[in-house]
Structure formats: structure tokens, C-alpha cells
């Protein structure tokens, strides 16, 4: 049976969740991967399908078109700035400014494609750029505040994790912000805004299954922690086979729901 643990978001509770993480984790074999791929292939798709925890939490409902805003830009800028702070001991504000400047330089040099963050940043006014900086500083400061006291060596994730399902024109995306490297495997942290809803557990399990699929040996992380600083809560799912299976099932359900919505729209 899949399980979800909820705790207050305090240093002591996070330390306990890290220390008590299970040592025996699930491993996805080639048969598991083949079985998952066949299930996705059974849900036909015209365009390439991209699924992530957000889609699972929304039960496959079509979402509004993505638009850059200070709120949507903060995670990328804030995370990159945090990595700079750890490497250079600079202030968070300077690190965010450097990151914004780097994005703008890439755009000027022609490396940013239309619709990218750099492209959007190049077109916003000076006050909006200030607000974007403010949001990214918030993100990085909050993340640093949460992970500074962790009881194991940690690093900021360089990117989210992706898995292409063979022959199913499907890419699964798992979000991750901070990785804890322990001797028995990884523990992954993800920062979220707002309040965890009823679908927060399935969302975390979706991230867990992508991290497992993307691991070269198919090993699940020991534990996946979702941190909701606004609500002061942390939710955790363990890297058990039950949770991995539940996460995979939720992805399939989302793919089915997504197809149903697409057919309704087309009719």
C-alpha cells in the first residue's frame, strides 16, 4: 500500500525524515519499463506527450497556456542563484542579478530561443525586472534557509529529471530542487508554493517514479520530500515499490484523461 507522511516544516522534522528514510528501495527492472511503455503505447497520441506531477495533480485536465511572470521565473533564477551563492559565497541578491545578467547576455548573443526565459527577460521593463529579482531572491533565500541545517551533504539539482518512454512518444518530467547524497541512495527535496492539496501525494509519487525510471539502474530514491514553506508543512513518500507503482498508475491515468479531454476539444 502506498503511504504519505506529513510533518511540520521544521529543521527537527526534516532531520528525522532524512534519518528515518528507508534503506531498502524499489528497483525497476527492464520488464517494469517494458510494461510501462506498453501501457503508454495503448493510449494513442497525435503530438508528443509531456507529463509531469502538475498534470497528475490536475487529473490530466488541460492547463492554460504557460506565460512567464515573476512567479514562474523565480524557481529557475532562484535555484541558479543558490548554486552561485554556494560556489562563490556572494550575497543572494548579487547572485540573482548575475543570473539575470547571464540570461540577458545569452539573449543578446542569440542563444535564447523565442519563448525562453532569457527572451522574456530581455523584453520586460526595469521595474518588472526588479520584481523578478525580488521573487528570485525570495525563492533562493527560502531554499537556503530550509536546507542549511540538513543532516547529510546536499547539493542543488542542476536540472529536473526526464524520462522518454520507449516508442510511446511520451516524456515524463520529475521536478527536484535539492539532492541529499547518502550512502544508501538519494533523498530528493522539492519546494512548492501555497498549500498542499488532496492531490499533493500523487504529485510527489509521480516525481518519485520519474526519478526511479531515470536512474541508470532503476533504483528509487530513498525518500521524496515535498516542502510547502507557505503552509509550514512537509509531505514525504518513500521509495517503495508500492509508491513507484502508484506513481506510474497515476501517470497512465493522466495520459488517458488528457486524451479524453483532447478528443472532447476536437469534437
Amino acid at each position: 500500500m502506498s503511504s504519505l507522511v506529513q510533518r511540520r516544516l521544521t529543521s527537527r522534522d526534516i532531520t528525522e525524515l532524512v534519518d528515518d528514510a528507508p534503506h531498502d528501495v524499489a528497483q525497476m527492472s527492464e520488464e517494469h519499463r517494458a510494461s510501462l511503455a506498453s501501457r503508454f503505447r495503448a493510449v494513442p497520441v497525435i503530438e508528443h506527450r509531456r507529463l509531469d506531477a502538475w498534470m497528475v495533480e490536475q487529473a490530466g485536465r488541460p492547463h492554460t497556456a504557460f506565460a512567464w511572470s515573476p512567479a514562474t521565473a523565480r524557481r529557475i533564477l532562484g535555484t541558479n542563484a543558490l548554486r552561485r551563492v554556494l560556489a562563490t559565497s556572494d550575497t543572494i541578491l548579487n547572485a540573482v542579478r548575475d543570473e539575470v545578467a547571464d540570461q540577458l547576455v545569452r539573449t543578446v548573443k542569440g542563444y535564447a530561443r523565442p519563448g525562453s526565459l532569457g527572451h522574456w527577460l530581455a523584453g520586460v521593463s526595469h521595474p518588472v525586472l526588479g520584481l523578478i529579482t525580488s521573487e528570485a531572491v525570495n525563492w533562493a533565500t527560502q531554499a537556503l534557509d530550509l536546507v542549511e541545517g540538513l543532516p547529510a551533504p546536499w547539493r542543488v539539482a542542476t536540472s529536473d529529471v526526464y524520462y522518454d518512454v520507449a516508442g510511446a512518444r511520451t516524456t515524463l518530467r520529475g521536478r527536484r530542487d535539492v539532492l541529499l547524497d547518502t550512502t544508501d541512495g538519494a533523498i530528493i527535496l522539492r519546494l512548492r508554493s501555497g498549500q498542499p492539496g488532496k492531490s499533493a501525494g500523487p504529485g510527489l509519487r509521480s516525481d518519485l517514479v520519474v526519478a526511479t525510471l531515470a536512474h541508470p539502474e532503476g533504483l528509487a530514491p530513498r525518500r521524496y520530500l515535498g516542502l510547502w514553506p507557505d503552509a509550514g508543512l512537509v509531505l514525504a513518500v518513500d521509495g517503495t515499490m508500492d509508491n513507484v507503482r502508484a506513481g506510474a498508475r497515476d501517470f497512465i491515468r493522466s495520459a488517458v484523461a488528457q486524451r479524453r479531454h483532447a478528443l472532447v476539444r476536437a469534437a
Binding site: T91, I92, S125, L131, T133, S134, V137, A231, G232
Partner: protein, 210 residues
Amino acid sequence: MISSATLRATRRTLDLSDATMGRARGVMISTLFRLLVAQVHVDDPFADAIAAWRGERPDDELLEVLAHLDADQTARLRADVASHFATLARGVGPIPSSWRPRTSQRALQLLGGGRVCLRDVVDLVVGTTNHEFANVALVDVTTSPLGAGAERVMRYHALLQTLRTSVVPLRTSMFSSATGELWTLDVDTELLMRAVDDVAATLAHHRDAS
């Protein structure tokens, strides 16, 4: 649903247009405060605040109202925002990055099995909760003169911050950009208990009203 606005509210009647202008001024000063903390140079407080506001929430209906103000009303609001911003910039001064400032810090707590939702936004939080002793200070900015409602809001901020992080903040402050006054309270058990009483009284008032 309880928020700092609920606790601040007095029972006096406001003219609708005054309330709208007051809300708009409040949003603009909060936005400008965020720019100040991010050490962004502000050329024209009114224009910069509108630009930043539109960049953050382009569909805010209050922006639509502002777009339809006549020239006199716009000029009055522009002067008002400039005056409040000058008081704010002079009163608060630069915030060092080493204090780890976070602006518009949100908090959300569900009580009573989700039947009561406590929401809060603090304009500025400095310090960290990762120390043995509390060293977090909360600063709120209001465009109104400070009064009894302001004290309730300061206590509410401290309560929500405590519930959110499980760490009691050191101080809770409120700055008025109308008068330049700054009120600061040390946070202790008594203050938190009074905050609980405030919330309970507000809930009772809501229950009686409905």
C-alpha cells in the same frame, strides 16, 4: 477566511472611490517597497509601481479601474504615491542583503479541519529561523496611520509566522508611510496569546454576523 485585512478592519464606512484609491495606493506602495528591498532604483514611483504591478498581475481588475481614472484623480493618486514612497524610502533606508530579506512572505494555515483558513502576507521578513535563538523580524508597511488595528495586525503576523515555521519571531513591526511612524513589538507568549484571542474574537464576530 481570516487575513490581516480582516483584523485591521474598523467598522467605519468608507466612500467606495476612496476605498478603491486606498487599495490601489496600498498595492503600489507594497510593490515599491519590494523594489526598494531589491535595491532597484525607482525613477518615477507611480509609473514604476504600475509597470511592476502590471508585470506581476496583468489581469488585476484594480488596474482596469486605474486606467479609467480622470486626469485629476490620476494626478492626485500620483502625488499621493510619490509622497508615501518618499516617506517610506527615508524611513526604512537600505536593507543589507546579509539580513536575508524576503518580501511579500505568504503564510497559510488551515484550522478546524480546514473550516478556518488563516492567510497572511508580510511585506518584509529578515533573519533566519535556522538559529538556536529566534532572530527573525517581521516588518509590515501600511499607507494608513497606525492605530489599534495595526497592533492586531502585528500580533497576527507574529502568530502566523510562528505557526508556519514553529519558531517564534523576535520582533514584529509596522511602518506607516502616511506618518513615518514605526511601531515595534517584542514577540513573547503573551503577545501570541493575545493574537489567538484576536482571531477567536474575529471568528465569533463572523459567526454572529452570519
